[in-house]
């Protein structure tokens, strides 16, 4: 599997520490860091210093804030796990927590939406390092008081800090801030209640190349994978998913809700979506298609029904069709509206009955007078056209005969229904060969 080259972890940390907008770079915060891994199992005390119980877990609330505040503590008191409100914390040291009042309401803990448990859900779990472009495990989490509340401010993914936790006593609790990564630059993916979203992460993820993002997705384990994809912007997710291996994508879709799958697949190039859908089990495919907008679903259903060995199976149905009586300006406007799509390099011109006349390249349109009618531009060479039932081998032949960059697919009435680009053909061919020559990595 391809991996992005990764900067060593301490450089990543240093780079982040140098950024002044991050909390970790503030001296006061750095000096008050408390290691979560060290704190678990330590005493929770009342204001007089008497031990009430031992800390089992720390509950955080995540939402709009970049640094999630501690909403409560789970404390083991006389063999019972009780929940203590986070507002009661008066002092936090690396080896103990002191509460502000002797009177405490002991309530049994029940998970609320938008909360997660730092030890049970985050520590030692997989986490995405957005800057280092990889999936790692959290070695430690750091808490610090900030803005009137105790918050999660940093995460540590270094192996050194992991080893530190193996030591007995206070050695295991000593913070190693050199390796701390600011919480704002990670995306943690946890548990049943939902994903830890940090406001900074979404923005950071959108800076990634789709191929890198695809690698990250592939590196995550099942539930984390689904959670990660769901937190991505659907447009971005669609771009990344287009870069993924077919099998991998199939597995991923099984872990996503039909609604999310439908959202993402609608945004992918139709030929790519159809290819994935074709491989799914019938019931699964149907559940996704029925969650889509009906026009998109209809189009995809048609594509899915084509055999992969035929032109219809590899074409994209996303074509920009204009009438011969439209003006050059109309055509250009349509292109601009669709500039996000890979297929927007020209328009397909049809006559009044919808029959194929020509494919006009964007360059020709730009060179022409915007007010002129497209009929004037129709000229040789006319585009090569095939029907949806044309076998791949013939499509290849047509391509090599006319040396164009695309072929138009038409129906029996000569109406354009799709287009095959050279790269679609390359994909299709390499995939067919791959059936016989695919070799997996020898990672065992």
């Amino acid at each position: 599997m391809k991996r992005p080259s990764v900067a060593p972890i301490n450089t990543v940390a240093k780079r982040l520490v140098g950024r002044s907008d991050l909390l970790i770079s503030r001296k006061s915060v750095r000096e008050s860091l408390v290691s979560l891994a060290g704190l678990i199992g330590r005493p929770v005390m009342d204001p007089d210093g008497r031990e009430i119980g031992k800390l089992v877990d720390v509950v955080v609330r995540h939402g709009e804030e970049t640094y999630p505040p501690v909403s409560g503590l789970i404390v083991k008191i006389a063999n019972h796990k009780s929940f203590i409100n986070g507002a009661r914390i008066s002092q936090l040291t690396p080896s103990s927590i002191t509460l502000s009042s002797t009177k405490i309401n002991l309530e049994p803990f029940s998970r609320r939406a938008g909360e997660s448990l730092l030890d049970a859900d985050v520590l030692d779990h997989q986490i995405v390092d957005v800057d280092g472009l990889r999936v790692v495990r959290t070695s430690d989490l750091y808490l610090a008081p900030f803005n009137k509340e105790v918050r999660v401010v940093g995460v540590d993914i270094s192996f050194v800090s992991f080893l530190r936790r193996l030591f007995p006593g206070s050695l295991s609790r000593r913070p190693t801030p050199d390796h701390v990564i600011d919480w704002a630059s990670v995306a943690s993916l946890t548990d049943s209640t939902g994903v830890v979203r940090t406001s900074g992460t979404r923005a950071a993820l959108s800076q990634l190349r789709p191929a890198d993002l695809a690698d990250l997705i592939e590196d995550l384990a099942g539930r984390e994978q689904g959670a990660f994809v769901e937190m991505l912007d659907p447009e971005l997710a669609a771009d990344a998913l287009e870069e993924m291996e077919d099998d991998e994508l199939e597995g991923l879709l099984r872990g996503l809700s039909p609604e999310t799958s439908a959202d993402i697949l609608s945004l992918m190039e139709p030929d790519e979506s159809a290819e994935v859908l074709r491989d799914l089990e019938d019931s699964h495919r149907e559940s996704i298609l029925s969650a889509m907008e009906s026009s998109t679903a209809k189009e995809l259903r048609k594509l899915v029904s084509f055999d992969e060995e035929l032109a219809g199976g590899i074409m994209t149905t996303h074509i920009l069709v204009v009438k011969a009586t439209d003006t050059v300006a109309d055509a250009l406007q349509l292109l601009v509206m669709n500039m996000e799509r890979e297929n927007s390099d020209g328009v397909v011109v049809v006559d009044g009955k919808g029959k194929l006349l020509d494919h006009i390249q964007i360059l020709e349109l730009i060179a022409a007078d915007p007010k002129s009618v497209l009929t004037e531009l129709i000229a040789k060479p006319y585009p090569t056209a095939v029907t949806a039932e044309t076998p791949l081998a013939e499509v290849v032949e047509e391509f090599s005969n006319n040396r164009g960059s695309s072929i138009i697919v038409i129906d029996e009435k000569n109406k354009p229904i799709g287009r095959i680009l050279a790269d679609d053909l390359v994909d299709a061919l390499s995939q067919n060969r791959g059936l016989f020559s695919q070799g997996g990595g020898t990672r065992s």
Binding site: R3, Q126, V136, I157, G222, E248
Partner: protein, 416 residues
Amino acid sequence: MSQLKIPSGRKLRLAAFLAVMGPGVIAGLSDDDPAGITTYSQLGAQYGYRMLWTLVVSIIALIIFQDLGARIGVVTRQGLIGLVRQKYGARAGSFSAVALILANLGTMTAEFAGVAAAGQLFGVSRYVTVPITGFFISALVLRGTFKKAERVFFILSAVFISYVIAGFMAHPHWGSAFHGMVVPSMPFNRDAINIATATLGTTLAPWGLAFIQSYAVDKRLTKADLTLLRADVWVGSALTGIIGFFVIITCAATLNHEHITNITDASQAANALQPLAGALAKDIFAVGIIGAALLAASILPLSTAYSVSDLTGSPAALDDKFRDAPLFYMTFAAITIVAGGLIMIPGISLITILISSQVLNAILLLPLLAYMYGIARDKKLMGEYVAGKRSLLLYGLIIAVIAICVLAQFWFIFNL
């Protein structure tokens, strides 16, 4: 490894399965490595048919836990060690990694011992065979030409199927064999406990458990592939059982029959093949041992290195550069060098190493199996695949059997 790549839906189910000969079969056949063959030979030579039931128990344990490992890998998509760290914390994760490393180191030493023993059959010193094997394996694996070589090793180790024929030709006492399989009995002494523990340890090897799980993760197998993967595990385990069974009855019918009850070197074990191969017995035995040793020795360091990097959280692979995955390559090198080095200690008894490494396996299995038990019952991790009461009882029972063997082992060590 052959790719477990299943065309979805309609096409080629059977073809896919045949092309697979996947991880279960590899892990199964690698169980019949030098240590396995030696342990089974010793069991047959020393106790005849009487303790065949220990093999039956071991195979049942193998099927059940390999099946569980495959399921955990597919459902959680994480390696065993990483999962232990996630569920039980840093110390438990490191502890399980250390247990696995020690077990694998022992088994790797046994693979080298097998090569050394086979070499000695032809009068080639272990000071020649072991270093050459070490370099050869490392070069193969690190250069990535391992896939083709793997098939060759696979075929070489399949030589052990000759035990099946030899078994028939040695005219074993089938009645006694059947009795030995279904009626558990054994003398209560140190040797018997030792060989019973070694049989459990060599059959249900720790590395096999880690291997099957990381394979499922690495090849990104999904729940839809699970049926096929499980079939593969069952076939592999059954194959191990069949070969093990014939090794034991062949040795029972030949060596035990001739009162050779303590195998002290490989040529004695090779003698069991004489009814089939006559003068060629030694050669066939040597070829099989070398093939099986190389097959296992090329997977072991890799599997160990994978598990160690799994502990750190970012499983590494062969296509990573040294700079990106130093721990991965360092583990690989350490396992190979230390295991090879141990065999080079002058005067060390190869047969002792072969069998005691498998006793070590059994001891180190205990924590690993206990962690697997914990993971299997974790609803949050396993979801709909969480183990039911009856499965858990079965897992517990197997763990208890191994624990009893290990405890008895310790009891004899400290009382004699």
